[in-house]
Amino acid sequence: MASIDIQDIRKSFGTFSVLHGVDLTIRDGEFIVLVGPSGCGKSTLLRMIAGLEDVTSGDIRIDGRRVNDLAPKDRDIAMVFQSYALYPHMSVADNMSYSLKLRRTAKEKIASAVGGAAAKLGLDPLLERRPRALSGGQRQRVAMGRAIVRQPKAFLFDEPLSNLDARLREQMRAEIKKLHGDLHATSIYVTHDQIEAMTLADRIVAMHAGVVQQVGTPLDLYDRPANLFVAGFIGSPGMNFFEGCYLVSGDQAELRLANGVTLPVPQRAGIEPGATATLGIRPEHVVLDAHGALEAKVDLIEPTGFGIIMHVSIHDVPMKIFTLDRAMLDPGPAVRVDLPQERLHLFGTQGQRVE
């Protein structure tokens, strides 16, 4: 197991710049999840750590050793691909033992390593099959097995579960978590799935357009998003935003929206009175209260089974509310709501969080 240290990594393809200076320190045994919209450079970063892409500038260190110029085979890391990339002409057992054979490991050692991994992943009955004869979930397991047999310094996962159906994904997610609990292997995991990110990560790295936006524990990112991007990206349904003018009168602060509506907000030192600011509140934090301060027109009701997503508008400004209250399946034309002060997030002109 190992630590990974990334310093000011940049990457361009020709003149097209993809990563603009990424810094990241991953501790030994840590599980890091990379999230961000499509095309923001997650796979590129992962592939640079693996050695599959050249580093344009900056340093990558594994266990303190600079690996920029090492071939993938000399970095001792394992990677699980979204496509699984199983070797179609080899049996499951051969797929899993290929890396050990390349390292000229003794036969008995290979057998026991493959046996151990197969037992962990429930692959025993499939060892002689070809990948073609496996289901999607089984292929995924083989890909995992191939990664764990040789106990590498680190695991890289590039959207490993995105080709599976929802139920299988849930099951594999739990297995990966269990596996990490057993092995304590340094892992970097790319995903689009919020729940995977929240449940698996020791720390989440949120990226946007080739720049790291925030690094922190899942709850950090949920409770104290560093900027508008992270606030909108983490959480589902996404955070509600209201943009307006931040005004202070006495010890009261408020946000005046473009349509004249004012919302009371907590007073913050990090923002000039009169500046443009954005208020954010998560749908699950909006309180439905018959005596609430604001009236909201109900536009649409989306029951999810577990709860209800209500699409409402306050003076034509749309907002989403998440509630567990079944009565809200039929709320009538309008409801009254409160935006509790302690749940509000305030973002400055540049989109940065202000405290």
Partner: protein, 276 residues
């Protein structure tokens, strides 16, 4: 959608027509080869001679240099096919997997080699090979044929490689392989259909080549069968029966090879590059 019986019948008839047109000339070859000499003209246009014979075949096999020609052709076509497939796999892999500065020049060079009549090269190649002692030798022929066939075979192999996901060799490289080991152990085994197609294609081409075989080889010892067949024309002037018997015998290996590989050819071209 249910297909209408009328369309099905028309479809089968059309296929049948194609098969008949494709095979009829070959059937005629066979027919003449089993027609005894005395019936050749009197029954020249009959569909099958009233008396069939294998005498032409026994003569060709027992009393002519044909077995030597056959052996030479087998050696030349076989070696060429193997050599071309190795070179074209390597070059096709480079074109498929790497981005490098000279790539477009290499492609352009290979295209240009397809654009001029090879007749133009006969004299220069003869001049270059003869001081090396490579005229009148099977090795010389193999070298020349290999060069001629590498460009097309490279494009063919490239299209097969393009059909194999890059993830696979990346996975292998992470597993601990160098790019070359990944190429040999992972990619090549997956390209077996492409290799078969290339082998068959080149074998057939080398088996049939006449011009350079004629120009570079003068003795009977190193003559390939197309040259040998031409010597039939001069030696026995119009002994059609023997020529056609020799022709049929010569067709057998090429056709066998082709029958084995033709479906891989379709598969390989489906994979990629030709669609460019």
């Amino acid at each position: 959608m249910r297909s209408k019986p009328f369309l099905t019948v028309a479809h089968r008839l059309a296929i049948l027509a194609y098969i008949v047109v494709a095979l009829f000339p070959l059937f005629w070859l066979l027919k003449v080869s089993v027609t005894p000499n005395d019936l050749l003209y009197s029954e020249g246009v009959r569909m099958w001679p009233s008396r069939a014979t294998f005498e032409h075949y026994t003569f060709v096999i027992a009393h002519s240099a044909f077995p030597t020609f056959f052996k030479n052709s087998l050696i030349v076509a076989g070696s060429t096919a193997v050599a071309v497939t190795i070179l074209a796999s390597l070059a096709g892999y480079a074109l498929s997997r790497f981005r490098f500065r000279a790539k477009y020049w290499i492609v352009a060079l290979m295209l240009v080699t397809q654009m001029f009549p090879l007749v133009m090269l006969v004299a220069p190649i003869f001049k270059m090979l003869s001081p090396l002692g490579l005229t009148n030798s099977l090795t010389g022929l193999v070298i020349v044929y290999t060069a001629f066939n590498v460009p097309f075979a490279t494009f063919l192999m490239q299209s097969f490689f393009d059909g194999i996901p890059r993830d696979l060799e990346e996975a292998a490289m992470i597993d601990g392989a160098t790019q070359f080991v990944a190429f040999r152990q992972i990619i090549l085994p997956l390209t077996l259909p492409g290799i078969a197609a290339t082998l068959g294609f080149v074998f057939t081409a080398a088996w049939s080549e006449l011009l350079f075989a004629l120009m570079l080889i003068s003795g009977n010892d190193a003559a390939t069968f197309p040259v040998g067949l031409l010597t039939f024309v001069s030696k026995f002037s119009v002994d059609f029966g023997q020529m056609m018997a020799a022709g049929i015998l010569a067709l057998i290996p090429a056709c066998l090879f082709f029958l084995l590989i033709q479906r891989y050819l379709v598969q390989g071209l489906t994979a990629g590059a030709v669609k460019g």
